[in-house]
Point group: C2
Chain length 537, copies 2
């Protein structure tokens, strides 16, 4: 149904609406409907146009005039669905919510109203006392799923709990029902299908599962599932905790440019941007800028922002654009001052998520099989040779100067979990050979470096290191890596202005959320994911 | 002076260092110096290589071995410069700081140590009691400005306040001086020049003023000025306050993609990105995604992130990349529910800045002429015709369907300031004709819209409106604007899934900081600014 400003459709709350006005409204509605070329005919609300003269509910239901800020109803108080409880028994409330489902049967219509993750049952029943007509019941039954409605209703304690709703102790018995914003009749996916538990392995449930591309193509609908409402609220919590914990520790938030003059980490995997008559690149990390902020006396800095990788990796854990939680910190004598700070920050974050987002975690758990995330305080720190040894004992041989493969990392995660009962740990002292040129070598062993990765459920979420802060040594290491010094001259130059020793790391926000919740795909934790095959919506 | 891991330079704190070791160190230092091809010869520290046998300070000064995290000195406690006070009188402390200036005269060297915005005087004086030799004094005098040093010193109450330092009641009398990281002798700009008060109009001060491009080309040095240290700490505060205030009001933080499939606000002024075998664009605003989040039941959302404008505008207030503080909120009946929320958020933010950043504001005021920022609570809200009238009374004619020019806005800012004594106000009810197609028209006057701008010191910092949430009406307005409907089909489609009425706005972070502090150029409030002519550093 189409509503536009020119249409004098039935106006909500107009108790004095005469029959004449109702007639006029009916005509307008008819005209409107023709104009819409029967587009919404299959299940659209019909307004009170059917037989208004005989309708005791006239002026108590219909299509609400487009809300254009006229000043009407500004004082009306609405109640949130989550706040409906027996304490409000017998009281009348206004509720604005989505109509999730409705089922009209003769003189009654049962519907479920949803607001974010909360649901409540609505009953619209023919009643002289409430002046609810059969036309009004029919109108409600015809409202398309996912439409937004305003309902004036009495809160009524239910005899038995309504198992299908999050608000189970009460239901709403309507005296007014107004359509605020209509959803189209044919939805590309059903929210209830998208919300179906994945842990349910019966073939019927599998058959109606909504596949990932359908979800992402219609992300607005998909995001309405309780699990998604919870995931992105928890994701906001990850960012808030990260920032708050670091701010309390004296870190300063900075903002680093995304458009950069040269590829920051070698030339590969970088997106090119047309920049007026020239070209520029999208930053693959804020690394250089974080380090410049350290050289500029900001001492401890963090930044939260978009990071771009032009990698053609179509895996469960790669995105071409993601949110980086980056930090960099000067230290006095040992990079473990920084490593310990990062470790404590993450531990505090895990604790904050557990304590502040228990209900969101439970909601996600209703759709996905989630084992609670286990962590130790202080966290476990292993050195690379210990990891090699654990893998060796499990029958996997890794050279002492090799990097770990993704399967090695996953196996190691399982071994660590079994031995130490933690889903989070730090792997310190990586082989120098597998780290970038700017990584500080270990002072005692030239094959080892002052670098670390951190893991959640066996997948890497952070990579970091002490950086070389001496320009000559940095040059030497870059040459050793076969890097064209002229291309990183500005980077090296920033260390000729006096720079304290420093270390840091970069965390992938979406990975943290995915792995904290034990989800299987990073696209579940990016609101509008970007990968080599997807740039929309 | 070049320090690298292979050089056995004098090791700090090694009290038992034998003469033999010292000799060896001296040789190494000599070799090292040759290797550096006298690059740093003009003022570089010499280490204790000169005549170590006769040096009573041997082992108490020199070039510190590259800090590579050996585990040495991990337990050493350092004191921050800002915490040096008479309470520490006669106590010995370790301080790591920059050597801002030094002046050796015979048996004494006076230096200023700086840490962020705090400074303290350092005295290195030949003394048998302290075992300070003339070589050590000379070494200190030769340390290049902006180098980082470790100093072990006694806190000594000064007879008269040290006017040139922020810590004026005490000075440091050194017993050890170690060079941690050397700055090169020839700096592209002097931090003390970059920090010179701009309000000082005498010709001498003007002559040695550092111009903006020199500052930005050497941003690492420029950022070390007290004013810049303060500006970017306050900027972090703007973001923190924005987020905290909105989070308390029930907003959810979201992250929107920067890489988008089509230009979000018309085709002009958008950067193109090579995206694998195709092309994409950089988002000019998170508008569509914020609205989708509203349609997806997140109710109230905000996002802080990079925004890109390919405008060839070389003005004091345009950047090609800036940080957007964006919010969007569903409302029940009137967009002023949202406008009032934004207004209260900004007022709370101004109050927070005033109360929490008084010292930063004062520091900025030492370099720049800054009038305190005035605001009312609740803020002033004018309607567009009132502004037209005020301008008319001041002799400027603006048509009722015209937009305000930048000079009009500035004049209006002065008029508002004079009449209402506020640097912040809201201008509501813009002409429909000057706003984007998705702006909701006023319900009573088809020439007017439900839109608003907000101003600080006469410059726009926020633009916002009620958006049209009805797909047919949106289509009609887009057609009216001559927009190719096929290109915005996905945008329109998102309103066919049921969408509550909503409004929002976007704030330019750098503008807020610039105008709050009364600075004259947005490049002063972007850490690494991007404009049509600058993509580096």
């Amino acid at each position: 149904m189409v509503v536009s400003e020119e249409q004098p459709l039935p106006v909500e709350g107009d108790a004095a609406a005469s029959k004449k006005a109702a007639k006029k409204a009916a005509k307008a509605a008819e005209k409107q409907q023709k104009k819409a070329e029967h587009k919404a005919a299959s299940g659209a609300p019909q307004g009170e146009g059917d037989a208004p003269e005989a309708d005791v509910s006239a002026g108590r239901y219909g299509v609400l005039k487009l809300i254009q800020s006229t000043g009407e109803n500004r004082d009306r108080v609405y109640t949130d669905v989550k706040d409906l409880s027996v304490e409000l028994n017998e009281q009348n409330v206004w509720v604005r919510a989505r109509l999730q489902t409705s089922r009209a049967k003769g003189k009654q219509c049962f519907a479920v109203l949803r607001q974010s993750s909360s649901t409540v049952q609505l009953l619209v029943s023919v009643s002289d006392e409430r002046a609810v007509s059969k036309q009004m019941v029919k109108f409600t039954g015809n409202i398309t799923k996912e439409s937004i409605v305003d309902v004036y209703a009495t809160v009524v304690k239910t005899q038995a709990p309504v198992e299908s709703c999050t608000v189970s102790a009460v239901e709403l018995v309507a005296t007014q029902v107004w359509l605020v914003s209509a959803a189209r009749a044919q939805l590309p996916l059903q929210v209830e299908d998208a919300a179906r538990p994945e842990k349910n392995d019966d073939p019927e449930a599998l058959r109606i599962r909504v596949n990932q591309d359908t979800r992402l193509d219609n992300r607005v609908l998909d995001l309405r599932t309780p699990a998604n409402q919870a995931i992105f609220r928890l994701e906001a919590g990850v960012c808030r905790l990260f920032r708050d914990i670091l701010t309390k520790r004296g870190f300063v938030e900075i903002h680093t440019p995304k458009i950069i003059p040269a590829a920051s980490e070698g030339g590969a995997n970088v997106f090119t941007v047309s920049y007026f008559k020239s070209s520029a690149y999208l930053a693959q990390s804020p690394q250089l800028y974080k380090q410049m902020a350290i050289a500029a006396d900001f001492d401890k800095v963090f930044t939260v922002g978009a990071v771009f990788r032009a990698e053609d990796s179509n895996t469960h854990r790669h995105l071409t654009e993601f949110v980086g939680l980056d930090l960099e910190m000067s230290f006095k004598h040992h990079y473990h001052e920084v490593l310990d700070t990062i470790a404590a920050t993450l531990t505090d974050m895990f604790r904050g998520l557990r304590d502040q987002f228990a209900s969101e975690i439970a909601t996600v758990g209703q759709q996905y099989r989630v084992e609670p995330f286990k962590f130790l305080d202080p966290p476990l720190r292993l050195e690379f040779p210990q990891a090699i040894q654990m893998l060796k004992e499990a029958g996997v041989t890794v050279g002492e100067e090799d990097d770990l493969s993704t399967p090695d990392e996953k196996l190691l995660g399982r071994l660590v979990r079994a031995k130490y009962d933690t889903d989070f740990y730090i792997l310190d002292k990586y082989p120098l050979a597998v780290r970038p040129f700017y990584t500080m070598p270990d002072p005692n062993n030239p094959k080892v470096s002052n670098s670390y990765d951190m893991f959640m459920r066996g997948e890497e979420i952070l990579s970091g290191a002490q950086r070389i802060h001496d320009p000559e040594f940095l040059t030497q290491r870059a040459l050793h890596h076969g890097i064209d010094i002229s291309k990183i001259a500005a980077y090296i130059e920033s260390f000729r202005l006096g720079c304290p020793p420093h270390a840091g790391g970069g965390i992938g926000m979406e990975r943290v959320v995915m792995l904290y919740l034990g989800l299987d795909n990073i696209r579940k934790t990016s609101m509008f994911p970007r990968d080599p095959k997807r740039v929309s919506p």
